[in-house]
Structures are given as C-alpha cells and as structure tokens.
C-alpha cells in the first residue's frame, strides 16, 4: 500500500523526519518496501516559456523553439509536439537530465541539422501520467526558471508499505498513522466527519436479502451533482500512489478507501430501476465489470442488484452499466459490510483482485459504515455540489465487541522481555484498546482489529510497539555432557548411501519431483497428477528417479559430455506412500580414450551391478545374502537386468541396462545402465552394542585350488557359486570366478567356468587326504548345480 508523506501528515500530527518514519514503520511491522520522491527524480526539470516557435528548415513536423528557462540567454530546442507555440509555458529538461518515461539522458544534439539543447516534456515522459498528445501546458502564472516538481507540489515522498494479511486496519493511511502515533511518533488526528443532513428522504429502497454475505448496506442519494475531473491536488495524490484519476466521484471513493481503508461504491441513479438489494447471485447471471471483463456469477456470491440488473459484485467490483460518467447528475453512494470469507471465496473463484476485495476480505471496520458514508457525502458535495438525501441503513453490521483476558506478565513469558504495566497500558490505549482490571486485565479490542484472537495477540501488540530488538537473546537450556547423536537409522542409511555413491565417482543431482506425463509413461505413469501444474513439463509426480536423471544425462550429452555418472537421493511418489530411493545412471563411456587402455569402453550392465552392490554394502545391506531375482520392470532390457532381494517380497534394488524404448523416450542413444536402490527396504542391523564378534586371524596358511567346470551355456553362475561355497561352510573361505570360456575344447552348448577356491585349515594343516576329500565334496556339490568337472 502506497501513501505520501503529506497525506500521512493529514492524519498524524508529527515533526518526525521521513527517515524516522520509514524506520519506525518497518520496526513496528509495516515493512517499508520503497520510498520514492518524484521531486528528486525530476530535480533538473524547470519551468520554461516558449518565446518563439519557427518551422524547422528540414522537417515539416518539427519546430525550432527559443525557450526562456530563466537564464540570461534563451535556449534553442527542436520540438515535435503539435501544441508547441510561442507563449506556452511548459517543462524544460536541460542536457544531462534523465527522462524517466523514455529511459534516456538528454544531451546536446543536432536534429536534422539544427542544434537542440534540451527538451520540452510531455506528461508521459516525466512518468506523471499517460498523456502523450503534446507537451505539458502550465498556467500563465507559472514562474519561469523555477524547479517544476517543487512548484507543482510533487515534492512529496511516496512510501510503499507491505501490509500483512492480518492488518486490515493498516489498509488506510489513518490506520498507519494510528500505529505510528502508538510508536511515539506524534498524535493521531481524529476523523473529521461532519454530519451531513439529508434534505429529503432517500428515493430508492435499499435492503439486504443476504444478511450472511452482506449484513449491512448503508446508502444515500445525492441529487444535482456534477462529475467532472477531480481537482489537481486530488489527481496528484492518487497518481503519486499509483491510482489513475478517472472522475471526481470515482476519485473520491478511491481517496476515502486509501485514506481510511473503507471501500465505497457510487451508482448513477439514472441507471437504476426499483429497489437496490444485496442478495445472492442467481446461477447464470453475468456482470460486465468496470475492468471491461464479463464475470459469470453463481449462487455462492453476493451481488448488489436492482429490479433489472446485477450492478455490482458485492465488495469486489462494480458494473460498467451503472458506473458514474461525465453526464451523471444523481448518484447513490453505497457503504456496506461484506462478510470476509465470502469475499475471499468469490474473489478466488472469479480470479478477480481489486483494492476493495483486498480490504473486505481482511475485514473492514464494521463500526465505520456511517462515518464512511458521511465522509463520502461530504467530499462528493464538496467536489460536485448537489443535495444529499437522508441515509438508509439496511441491516446491521456485526458487533465484534471482543474482550480478551490478559495477564500483563504474559509478555515476559511469551516474548521474553518484561514491559512495565503502565507502559503496556499506554501502548494498548494508543492502539485503541480499552484496558480494565488489575491482576488479570480485560482488554477490549477496537472494532478495526478483527485479527485479535487471544492473549498472544496482545503480547504481539505490546512487543511490536516496544520493539522486538528489546527481546534479549536467551540460551536454550542445554543437557549436560556431549551432545547426543540424533540421526535416525533411515537418515544414516541415506547419508551413507549418498557419500558412498559420491566416493565411487558419481555426481549427485537434484531433479524436479514433477515430470511430464510423457516422461512418466515409460515408468508406468503416475498416480499423482497436478491439477494446476505450472507447465506440461511439470505435471506428474515421479514414480522413479530415473526420468529426471535421464533428462539430465541428455542435457549433459548435448553440452558435450562423453560420460555421465549421475545419482540422486530422493522420493518416489507412489499411490500410497513416498519411498526414499537412490537412483543412478551411467551413460556414455566408462573409460574414455586413454594411452593406457586404448579405446573407450562403454558402460555395461555389470557396471550398474557393481555400483548397486557397493552402495548397498555401504548403506548396511547384507550383500552376502542378496539373491539375484528376475522380474525387473519393463524400463530395463529384459535380458540384461535383475533385481537384488532378500526373497522375492523384499527387493532392495533393481539394476541393468535400460530398455531401448526407455532411452528412445528420452532421446538417448544407448546403452545407458542404471540402478535404483530402495533405501527403505534395507534391513537395519539390530542394535547389539558396539562390540564385534570375537575374531582372531587363523594361524595356518590357506590353500588355493582351482577347478574348471563345464556348464550348459544358459546356466547361471550364481547357482554354481552358491553350491561350491556351500560344499563346506567351515573350510571354504572364498570362491572366485576367474574365467569363462567357450570355444575349442569345450563341448558344444557348454561353457567352461573356472573357479579359485580358498581353503582355510582350522586347528591343523590339511593332509593330502583332507584336500582330496574337500575336492570331491566341491565336485559333488557342483554336480548338483548341473556342473561337471572339466577333463
């Protein structure tokens, strides 16, 4: 909300400096967002008189002016304005002056061969209005050479404050003045509203048929009024705060709204037929509003209507049809109370914002209807003459009459700062609260403070005026000893997985939680679609982290990266739950061209497996016990992917090469490999203290034996390895698969798989006989897995 310093001073008796006022506003919760003084901006512009105006020798539409700017010599100016003529007084900008409306700095220039030493300015060029038909024309008594802004009364700083949604009382200059007075910056001037007598009964019936939406509707008619342009002071003040002057009566309503936070509406009486009634809209009713748009109304909305038309979306915006114009002679002034929640709902439904709505939805002062109407009448008659009728009061405004019980000690308890009782009383009184009682106060809330709810609100009033900077910094009580660990097992899993992935050379990305429906499709779509997405690209909540990573990989490849190792730790949004997940993708080359390794090596599915297992191990998963399972989602290459689980029902990860169809959806050329680790599926070790199982390295040397087995081509290594490991749980310490061979010497349809088995003796060394028996056990176990010792 914007207002000017002189406007404020009409409500506040103060000699505080602008700086003090601005600092105080921010300090008491009316945050100043900006201060601007048009006079400073327009400082170089002076009043000039055109002495002569001659045709430009080279251009029909230009004139060469000689302008008296109050210096010894007149200045030559080339000017294209049609109204430039000898004798005209206007606004002159010298070289070096910055013209805000054109965003340029003037300099001496030759225009079509004639030197021009400045510019005569239009209203728009000085950002004083929209008019650009010609240069500014000032009255003949304007003093030549004087600073224009100062003479014209623009030397009035504009203060812009952000009003929080709870402070309906600060939506007018008067309320802001009240706060400043409470903060010790002067004295609030009382509202000067004379009782304007009615000369005749109101000729229009006014009533409210919707006491919920519009509990009170006050109005009166003024006859014989004229509605021309409003006076310069009013136009200037409205323009300064960003309102466009329209006509005296419209400007009057805006002036009172901005001055007192009291919206009004003025109807052209000639356009009304019969009674003017506040009622609920009927389904299908429409209104062409003052902003030129037509709104379709429904039965939840309160309107003002007569026998023929809807004229006003109550408390939000008036209609074009009954709006006042230059030809208006008789008017009806409306001053009503609209129920805030209803205004908010209607405004949201219609997506219609207005100054009136922003005040009614916060809740205007219900005790200010009559005063508001008197102020409006007074000003209307002052500006346009005419005779007012008697006032009609339909309905009654709500009477808040709220009283809050408050212990003065509550301020110290809640805000941590003790404020003397007398001081608290003084603050509350200045803000308009009534205080009675001794130990427990009854604080009567003024009608304009709808936001007051309980004692915490009273504390806030006291401390915001006293100053939050008085609150002393107070240490939180601290438990004795060293701070205890706070991370949960889930948090530890996530941290370990993240750091492990980064340690293995993967770069952590953070990608959007929402993706396009097209990107979600290869992953089975999404159960969560935004109703109001910001764009089609951000519409579906991801059920996998891979789409975001694939898009990122695509962008990186476009930027020339030959290899992307990306991972993300985040949530997947499933129909019933959000699951923490680490996903990674490896795209491009595992190793680039290098003198040691020669040609680049692209990533393959086994790389994804290695990452998955390593990260799972770091996160505490029992990787020794993990089974390799089929049934990977269709995202992956069906023959080059697998799941890792502790049984089919507890899947900890998926990994593999991505399906070419998946890659195609992301414009990627394969192969790209990926893994997803379902962090919440990793079983946590039971807490058994810090002590490890007792262990001493075996004293005797281990024995290594190699075996080569023949297996059918389609057989999986896993079964053989498990079988061999299981051949003797005590003595077989490790089994490594170190070679796979097909070709000469290996039977058709078979492969040779070579294993290195490490045998660890316990108490005494192996005898030849021991080793022979162990080998036989291994071969027997392998046979059960379909393997035959190679001859």
């Amino acid at each position: 909300m914007k207002f000017t310093l002189s406007w404020l001073k009409e409500h506040l008796e103060t000699d505080a400096s602008l700086e003090t006022i601005v600092d105080t506003l921010t300090r008491i919760g009316l945050e100043v967002e900006g201060v601007e003084n048009a006079a400073e901006k327009l400082a170089p512009f002076v009043i000039g008189e055109v002495l002569t105006a001659d045709r430009h020798p080279q251009a029909d539409k230009l004139q060469v002016l000689s302008v008296d700017v109050g210096q010894s010599e007149p200045v030559q100016v080339v000017c294209g304005a049609p109204n430039a003529r000898a004798g005209l007084k206007g606004v002159f900008g010298p070289p070096g002056a910055y013209v805000p409306g054109s965003d340029l700095t003037l300099k001496v220039a030759a225009i079509r061969g004639v030197e021009s030493r400045g510019m005569m300015c239009s209203v728009r060029e000085l950002e004083l209005g929209e008019d650009h038909d010609g240069i500014i024309e000032l009255p003949q008594d304007a003093p030549v050479g004087a600073a224009y802004a100062g003479w014209a009364g623009f030397d009035d700083p504009v203060i812009d404050v952000a009003i929080t949604p709870n402070r309906q009382d600060a939506m007018g200059v008067h309320g802001i003045a009240r706060d400043l007075a409470a903060a010790g910056l002067g004295v609030l001037k009382p509202v000067q509203a004379d009782q304007i007598k009615g000369f005749f009964p109101c000729p229009v019936e006014i009533r409210t048929d919707d006491p919920e939406g519009c509990p009170a509707f006050y109005g009166r008619v003024v006859r014989g009024i004229s509605n021309g342009a409003s006076p310069a002071w009013l136009q200037r003040r409205l323009t300064a705060v960003g309102q466009r002057p329209i006509s005296a009566l419209v400007d009057m309503t805006n002036y009172i709204m901005l001055g007192y936070g009291r919206p009004l509406h003025v109807y052209d009486l000639a356009r009304l037929q019969g009674a003017l009634v506040a009622r609920k809209a009927r389904t299908g009713e429409e209104l062409l509003a003052l902003n030129g748009k037509t709104y379709r109304l429904d039965r939840s909305m309160t309107v003002i209507a007569d026998d023929a038309h809807v004229h006003d979306i109550g408390g939000i915006m008036g209609g074009e049809f009954s709006g006042v114009s230059e030809t208006t002679t008789d008017i009806l002034i409306e001053c009503a109370y609209f129920e805030p929640e209803n205004i908010a709902r209607t405004g949201q439904k219609l997506a219609l914002a207005s100054d009136a709505r922003s005040r009614f939805e916060r809740g205007v002062d219900p005790a200010f209807l009559e005063t508001g109407l008197q102020l409006a009448t007074m000003m209307a008659v002052e500006l346009g003459g005419g005779e007012p009728s008697e006032i009609v009061k339909a309905g009654t405004p709500p009477e808040p009459a709220k009283t809050i019980e408050y212990r003065p000690g509550r301020t110290a308890e809640l805000a941590g700062v003790g404020v003397a009782e007398d001081r608290q009383k003084e603050i509350l009184h200045r803000l308009g609260f009534g205080v009675t009682g001794e130990a427990i106060w009854s604080v009567k809330v003024p009608s304009w403070r709808r936001d007051m709810d309980g004692s915490a609100d009273i504390v806030e009033e006291v401390v915001r005026i006293e100053g939050l900077d008085c609150v002393p910094s107070t240490p939180l009580p601290r438990e004795p000893g060293v701070a205890r660990p706070t991370a949960t097992p889930e948090q530890l899993v996530e941290r370990r997985a993240r750091r492990a992935a980064a340690a293995r050379g993967l770069n952590e990305a953070v990608t959007w939680s929402f993706i396009s429906e097209a990107e979600a499709a290869p992953f089975g779509g999404s159960p969560w679609i935004l109703a109001n997405p910001i764009s089609e690209e951000m519409k579906a909540m991801r059920t996998s982290l891979l789409p975001g990573l694939l898009s990122a990989a695509n962008r990186n490849i476009a930027r020339g990266a030959s290899s992307s190792r990306l991972f993300e730790v985040g949530r997947r949004y499933l129909a019933d739950t959000e699951r923490p997940t680490l996903a990674l993708i490896l795209a491009g080359n595992s190793e680039g061209r290098h003198w040691r390794t020669g040609r680049p090596r692209p990533f393959e599915a086994y790389d994804a497996k290695a990452e998955a297992l390593a990260i799972l191990a770091a996160a505490g998963a029992p990787v020794e016990n993990l089974q390799i399972l089929d049934g990977v989602s269709a995202t992956y290459h069906p023959g080059r992917s697998a799941r890792l689980g502790l049984g089919a029902k507890n899947v900890l990860a998926e990994f593999g090469e991505l399906h070419p169809a998946t890659l195609k959806a992301f414009d990627l050329d394969g192969p790209v490999v990926a893994a997803e680790i379902f962090l919440d599926a990793i079983p946590q070790k039971r807490g058994s203290g810090h002590r490890r199982a007792l262990y001493a390295p075996p004293p005797l040397q281990a024995v290594t034996r190699d075996f080569a087995f023949l297996l059918p081509l389609e057989a999986r290594a896993d079964a053989l390895l498990r079988a061999v490991r299981g051949a003797d749980r005590n003595l077989i310490a490790d089994v490594t698969l170190f070679d796979i061979f097909t070709g000469p010497g290996v039977a058709e349809g078979h492969k040779s798989v070579a294993l290195e088995v490490i045998l660890q003796p316990g108490e005494k060394s192996f005898t030849d006989e021991d080793l022979k028996q162990l080998s036989e056990k291994i071969v027997t176990a392998a046979a059960k897995a379909g393997a035959r010792l190679r001859d």
Binding site: R27, G29, E31, T164, P165, E341, A344, Q348, E413, L414, A415, G416, V417, D453, A456, E460, V463, L468, D469, P472, S473, L476, E479, A483, P485, T486, A487, E490, R498, R499, A501, A502, A503, R504, G505, N507, E508, A509, V510, W512, S513, W528, I529, L530, A531, I534, M541, L549, S551, A552, R555, N556, R559, S563, V569, R571, Y573, E578, H594, R596
Partner: protein, 358 residues
C-alpha cells in the same frame, strides 16, 4: 713373503680384476672349485705330518677364507652393477598423465542439510520428516489457516487431482506441516528441524516451483522469543562460521505463529557482493515466531502448559549465501560441470571438530 702370502695377494688381485660375473665364476672355480688351486692345497694337508699340519693347516684355511670373502664381495659389487645397468634400460616417462578415476560429488543442498543436522544436533535438535504430498489439514487447517484464509491463496499452492468427492491433496507449500506431524506424534519437550522439498506455483529468476526449506520447532514449558533469537543467532554464526552475524527481528505475520517475526540478517558489501556479517544493510532470511496457541491446541497439546517457537528458512538460499552460487535454477539442472564445481567431496562430511563449512 711366504708362498702362501704371495698366493693370497695373487688371488685377491685376480678376483678384483674379474670384469663380470662369468669371469668371477671362472676365478672361483680356479681357486675353490674341485680342481681349484686352493682346494688342491687343502688336499695336501692329508699327507702332512701332524706337526706340519698344525703349522700349515690354519694358514691354508685362512687363505681359503680370505679368497671366499673376496669372491662374495666382488660378486655383490658385480651384481649391483649388473642390476644398475638393467634398470638403466627400464625407464618410464613419468610425466605421462594418469587417470585417478572419476570425481564424484555431493550436491550443495545435501551438504547444507548435513551441515544443518550437525549444528542443530549440538543444540539438541533431531531431524524430522513428513510427506511432500500432504493433506490440506496438515498444510493449512491445523496451522490456523482455515479454508477461506487469505494466506492460503498467497501460498501459490499446487493441488493434486482428486477423485470426485474427495478433498484434493496438495504439494506441501512449506515444511511447517512437519511441526503438526511432530506435535501430534510425540510428547514435549520437542526440539526438531525438518529439512525437505517444498513446492509453490511460482517461477521466475529467483523462484523455482520446487525448493528446499528447513523448519525448526521447539516446544516445552517456558520457551520464549529470547530463546528463538538466541537459537537463530547461534545457528547462523555456526553455519556461516562468523562471529559478526547480526540479526534484526521485525514484527510480521504468519497464521501459525503469534507473535511472528521476520528475521533479517545484516550484511556488508565486499567487492560488490553482499557478504553476511556486520550491518551495512539487511536481507530477509527467515520467518519465525511463537507457535500459535491454536496450532498447539490443534495438535492435542495444552497451550496453557506448553509453548515454543518455530522458524523456517530456505536451504537453497542458505547454500547460495554461503557458497556463492547466483542462480537458483542451476541447482536442479544436473549439469555435470556445475555439480563438479559447486559440489562437495564425499569425505567433506561436516563435523563439529572439523568444521561445518567445506
């Protein structure tokens, strides 16, 4: 000089003159081999009288000993020389570049979240979580924002499509619903922070529709705004690792706190950039306040018994202020160049002893 002495100096000279290992071997055989001169000399001991043997024995043995020693000394010299010359042919160009493996990185948002957890753990706060697809009750109603509250409209909320007749869920617009989830699930005293993703339908140079926030909540008996101020000061000083952090609390409005305060942090301008610390100017950094009695009551606690404070702060913003990124949108682009430049080494784990700034 006796014969033996002549013989010894003769052999030592020959051994010393052997140019390479084969030559030395030849000398060894000539001296100590089966038919070697000294071996032959030893064999003569058998034909001597006991007296002669007693006189000659030690001398001949001493000769053999000396020659054997000389042979092994010379062998060591020659072997060393041979190795040296072999190694001289085995040089590598040690200036050739090698690969140290790919350089991974941790995203700044994750790093800052770890920093927050570390600092607040020392103050006795644990880390809490909540869903991002949230019920309107948790996101708004329980936080004292009934349906028609103007603040609801100000939140630029993303709504999810809902079956007919069911209330639409929202993407949480702030981390404050975790306050409610915490207060409804555990008993005071409560000290938590809740970092996480939040969403608003807002997109421009400084806003992204997804961003990260951290919420703080303390509920206990006798907690007041002075504690809030101290906690924020202590946190920011630790986070930015500066002692000259100055806070300015400004009255403001949030429906779920009363009194409410916007927290500005003082900055100084250094080399044209705003650096936190000092008080040349102020920037808005946090929203905070005393938890509204209605919120405490909505969570099933007695507001006459328990009170406390809450605050909320943008994590991306904290990261930018601390580490100097100037474009929020780049946080979510996954550009490897950016991730490597602004990311953190896996072992740069924030700790109290090692510092929380990497």
């Amino acid at each position: 000089m006796s014969d033996l002495e002549i013989m010894q100096s003769d052999w030592l000279a020959r051994i010393d003159a052997a140019a390479d290992l084969p030559a030395l071997e030849t000398e060894r055989v000539a001296a100590l081999g089966k038919q070697g001169a000294i071996t032959q000399l030893l064999k003569t001991l058998g034909g001597m009288t006991p007296d002669e043997r007693q006189a000659q024995g030690p001398r001949i043995h001493a000769l053999r000993e000396k020659v054997a020693e000389a042979l092994s000394a010379r062998r060591a010299v020659l072997e060393a020389a041979q190795l040296e010359s072999k190694l001289a042919t085995e040089t590598l160009d040690m200036t050739l570049p090698v690969s140290t493996g790919p350089q991974g990185s941790v995203h700044p948002v994750s790093q800052v979240m770890d920093e927050l957890a570390e600092i607040f753990a020392d103050l006795g706060f644990s880390v809490a979580n909540g869903p991002e697809i949230e019920d309107q009750w948790y996101n708004f109603t329980a936080l004292n924002m009934p349906e028609s509250h103007p603040a609801r409209a100000m939140h630029d909320t993303f709504y999810l499509t809902a079956p007919e007749g069911e209330e639409a869920k929202v993407l949480r617009t702030h981390t404050s619903p975790v306050q409610v989830r915490t207060m409804t699930s555990q008993k005071p005293p409560i000290r938590i922070i809740a970092p996480g993703r939040t969403y608003r339908s807002d997109s421009d140079a400084t806003h992204t529709p997804m961003f990260h926030q951290v919420e703080g909540l303390v509920i206990d008996r006798g907690i007041h705004m002075g504690h809030l101020k101290w906690t924020l000061e202590t946190f920011l000083k630790a986070f930015f690792e500066r002692d000259d952090i100055v806070l300015r609390l400004r009255p403001s409005y949030f429906p779920f706190t009363e009194p409410s305060a916007e927290v500005d942090v003082g900055y100084t301008v250094q080399n044209g950039r705003r650096v936190l610390g000092g008080s040349e100017g102020w920037m808005e950094l946090l929203g905070s306040g005393m938890v509204h009695p209605r919120v405490i009551a909505a969570c099933g606690l007695d507001p006459d018994e328990y009170q406390g404070f809450a605050f909320g702060c943008g994590i991306d913003r904290l990261a930018m202020l601390k580490y100097g990124m100037d474009d929020l949108r780049a946080f979510f682009d996954g550009d490897l160049r950016w991730l490597r430049h602004y990311g953190f080494a896996s072992l740069a784990i924030p700790t109290l002893s090692g510092g929380v700034g990497a």
